[in-house]
């Protein structure tokens, strides 16, 4: 799935889908596994805590599904993306425990930058209902 200088604007890519179980939310947002106070009570791990803050439900940490988009971008640009890559995101919907998310990308522009090709992509994560939960852009070089 890696991009090449010949990859065309408009090309679409789909990453690995994941169902976000409670155990994985605890692993991400509960602090150090089996450390003091584990699992931490916060808006990601505890419904009562979330409701005390005026939220309707727990919400999966946005940094958790940013990780899904990063995996897709490393697949597209290679590991070197972690030495120059950028992404810019808005979080537009609550992601609940048990939701299934799929990271996606489409190339919106490409241009030569010296010996390399710079790609800009629209990126997003979609839930099991087809709703986008985060939208944004990413940039990388090949």
């Amino acid at each position: 799935m890696k991009l090449s200088p010949k990859t065309e604007v408009g090309a679409e890519f789909t990453g690995k889908g994941r169902t976000i179980s409670e155990a994985r939310v605890f692993a991400f947002s509960g602090g150090r596994l089996n450390g003091p106070g584990w699992p931490a009570r916060n808006i990601h791990t505890d419904l009562e805590f979330a409701q005390s803050c005026g939220l309707q439900t727990r919400s999966v940490s946005a940094t958790q599904y940013m990780g899904y988009l990063i995996e897709l971008l490393i697949d597209l640009f290679g590991e070197n993306w972690l030495s120059h890559g950028k992404m810019d995101l808005k979080f537009i919907a609550v992601v609940d425990v048990g939701d299934r998310l799929v990271p996606k990308a489409v190339i919106i522009s490409k241009e030569s930058e010296g010996p390399r090709t710079k790609f800009s992509l629209e990126i997003w994560c979609e839930d099991q209902r087809g709703n986008k939960v985060t939208i944004g852009t990413a940039m990388g070089l090949i």
Binding site: R24, A27, F28, N42, M66, E79, S83, H84, K90
Partner: protein, 143 residues
Amino acid sequence: MSEGKKRTQFSETEEFEPFAFQVSPELNEQYLYALQDYHPRYLEETDSTTPWVHPGLLLNQSNLTRSPSFGLNAGMAGVHAKEEVEFFNPAKVGKEFKVTWKVVEEYEKRDKIYTVIQALVVDEDGREILRRKTTGVLAKGQK
């Protein structure tokens, strides 16, 4: 949640106490499980490099809630609205990392106060790993 100074909003240019953390193979694997991403680059040692830290771990550990001087009043929580991230170098398992934060902007939109916080993650050798700009809004309960 830390026992830091409690607050209901932030002030521009405010800086927070830095946070240092070391990434052990066990901590990295906890995040690989959370993210369902067991790529060999995060697990395998080669002649030229040690395993890489999953970027998701670095993002989670550089949330402002990690600062020892961060705290919110009961019934309040920060909710992530926007994020800009720039990566400079891969991070290696076994290293210690330091996160610094500063408030760069605060603005009001639709009766909500948004705070923009810049974070920088640097490893023990002084290599910049990532810089991020997070926009958050405070959620408040009835109490």
